[in-house]
């Protein structure tokens, strides 16, 4: 038997209807909202799964709210939040439950090619290539290539040295480049 959240829901609705949410919540939302599009992009590139990406960003957003006391006052939310998103994705990729719902990459490619999913051939190749990268390599590549972060920041978020960040990005580049080359060849 599931407990029902009716009391909480009615309280929330009242607050929203009256337009009097806590000022801290409103301020946080105002900072967070413009970052969500990019955050969902990071998560999508790392997890390669639309629903999982939404989960990751939702979880990262909740963590950011709960831990906002850790943020240096006056600093931009962007790098701090994106770091939480990237680490949330890495956590999900490393988690022992990650395999429970993730599609087999080959199955996904086959399904797409058989017409069940509308997807471009080159995208499928890229996707399959990214799936072959380790979580940490994928994270470094996404931070560098999707967020355009300098290696110093990639290293900071990934928790590694700058040189390690560079080598991870290079590894990812090689894999993706070979997929792109394959994509241009006749099949």
């Amino acid at each position: 038997m599931s407990a029902l959240p009716e009391a909480r829901l009615s309280r929330m609705s009242a607050s929203e209807v009256e337009g009097t949410p806590d000022a801290a919540v409103a301020a946080f939302e105002a900072e967070l909202a413009p970052l969500l599009h990019k955050a969902l992009g990071i998560a999508s590139a790392m997890l390669l799964d639309t629903a999982a990406a939404e989960d990751a960003v939702q979880e990262a957003s909740l963590k950011a709210w709960c831990r906002r006391g850790n943020r240096q006052p006056g600093t931009n939310l962007r790098p701090w939040f994106f770091a939480i998103v990237a680490n949330q994705c890495r956590e999900m990729l490393r988690g022992r439950w990650a395999q429970m719902i993730r599609l087999d990459p080959n199955a996904a490619v086959l399904a797409a090619r058989s017409g069940h999913i509308d997807a471009r051939e080159d995208i499928l190749d890229l996707r399959a290539s990214l799936l072959r990268l380790s979580a940490r390599d994928r994270m470094a590549l996404v931070l560098r290539y999707y967020l355009d972060l300098p290696f110093e920041q990639v290293a900071l978020i990934a928790g590694c040295s700058v040189n390690a960040a560079k080598s991870r990005v290079r590894r990812g580049e090689r894999v993706l480049r070979s997929a792109l080359v394959r994509g241009t060849q006749p099949r």
Partner: protein, 436 residues
């Protein structure tokens, strides 16, 4: 190309891939809604680092001192609970003696309500015959039910479990098909979640499955395994609970928070040891999650609903391996019902340290006792006594009693109260005494 240059082809490829995979703007709206809901629950004060640079030393020292005192009071609280643990000889207490507000007998009020005896029939506005109701949850316009249809040889089989949606306005039933072994359901993230356990007669491929259903059509959209949660010596079926966009499951020794979108575990904690979860209940703020464990020494754990961190636990007397404690969480306290072997009982525990509330004991039920939170008040069902109770959520004092053979599962919200019994679902008229 220098080492700081980006390969344009790789960059374009990655951006194209993101564009084809990333969720749309509606996902952003859902996330903001979820953050707002959580933020409004958790208040505006952020968690601070324990040794925050900006935190005065005296505050850190005070926190350490407070933690020490709280640790001491937890031990003391559990000790008090143990001393006051109800025994079969526990005398009746005031709540039981409170004059009840049972409606007067009206034998002809509702001939089509086999779940309600004449004394309670006047409160039944509609009865939907189904079978043995295993789980029930309320949505804005619908009641979702797992039931086991009667079988020819008599009795009910979980292997034949079915899910239905009942329209609350007219009682129309939409059938969602068979879900062998289905035991629990919850509404979260706009989906109906159903979980099955390994009941007799249920094929192994149908056991330990978490289904995501379209809440309107009841079509199965996703099916995933929860075998990993079950543990090796599982005694109890899975138990789902939800709050808005958040979903939790208790199964085997594990409690886990699941994504309300994909069902994937966000975290899972093994807090049951050799036992298995008998009940989970999240408090109305959505901040604290309670899990009861059935084992040779039943226990209760209090966890952060968001992170899964254990706040406290109690292994005081909660019966003896007889189905484990059943829970109904309120803000600041949780009601616990459990079988003792002779008489079931229910007790109220304070949330912060799970210590027994002074005077919170309502003794002399039967082993069929169960507790529910519904529309802000405490509901109890005593199947072996054949009674339902609505009670004061803080004191446990019974406000009204309903005669109800074999008891039932109770769900209530501002739109009404629904009872799932052994033969179907009854919609109750509001008894004003319950909310006095």
């Amino acid at each position: 190309m220098s080492e700081n240059d980006l390969d344009p082809a790789v960059r374009e490829g990655l951006h194209s891939l993101v564009a084809s995979t990333a969720p749309g703007a509606d996902a952003e709206a859902r996330i903001l809604h979820s953050v707002r809901a959580t933020a409004l629950q958790t208040g505006s004060q952020p968690q601070r680092r324990f040794f925050d640079a900006g935190r005065p030393l005296w505050e850190v020292a005070l926190a350490i001192l407070t933690a020490a005192v709280v640790a001491g009071s937890v031990v003391a609280g559990i000790a008090v609970l143990a001393r006051h643990a109800p025994s079969p000889a526990h005398p009746p207490v005031s709540a039981r003696a409170t004059p009840t507000a049972s409606p007067p007998p009206t034998p002809s009020a509702s001939p089509a309500t086999p779940s309600a005896t004449p004394t309670s029939a006047q409160w039944v506005s509609r009865f939907v015959p189904l079978g043995d109701v295993a789980a029930i949850v309320l949505g804005p316009g619908s009641v979702y039910v797992i039931y086991n249809p009667p079988i020819q040889s008599g009795g009910y089989s979980p292997a034949l479990a079915r899910v239905v949606r009942i329209d609350r306005s007219n009682g129309a039933v939409e059938h969602g098909g068979a879900f062998p072994g289905a035991e629990t359901l919850a509404l979260a993230g706009g989906y109906l979640w159903v979980a099955s356990g390994p009941s007799p007669g249920v094929a192994s491929t149908d056991a330990n499955v978490l289904y995501r259903l379209n809440a309107s059509t009841l079509a199965v959209e996703q099916r995933s395994s929860i075998t990993g949660l079950a543990g090796t010596s599982n005694l109890e079926p899975p138990a789902l609970t939800a709050a808005d966009n958040l979903l939790w499951i208790g199964y085997g020794p594990h409690v886990a928070r699941l994504s309300a979108t994909t069902g994937a575990p966000i975290w899972s904690r093994d807090v049951g040891g050799t036992g298995s979860v008998s009940s989970v209940s999240v408090d109305p703020t959505g901040r604290l999650l309670y899990a009861g464990f059935d084992s040779d020494r039943p226990s209760i754990a209090e966890l952060s609903a968001i992170t899964g961190t254990t706040v406290t636990e109690s292994s005081a007397y909660f019966g003896f391996d007889l189905g484990g404690p059943k829970l109904a969480a309120f803000v600041g306290y949780v009601w616990v019902a459990y079988a003792t072997g002779n008489d079931g009982t229910n007790v109220e525990l304070h949330a912060a340290n799970l210590a027994l509330s002074a005077g919170g004991v309502d003794g002399l039920h039967t082993n069929g006792i169960d507790v529910f939170r519904g529309n802000g008040i405490l509901w109890m069902s005593d199947g072996m006594a054949g009674e339902l109770f609505c009670a004061d959520e803080a004191s446990g004092a019974v406000r009204a009693t309903f005669d109800w053979p074999l008891g039932g599962l109770i769900a209530a919200d501002p739109s009404g109260t629904v009872v799932g019994g052994f033969s179907g679902v009854s919609f109750l008229r509001t008894n004003p005494v319950c909310y006095s």
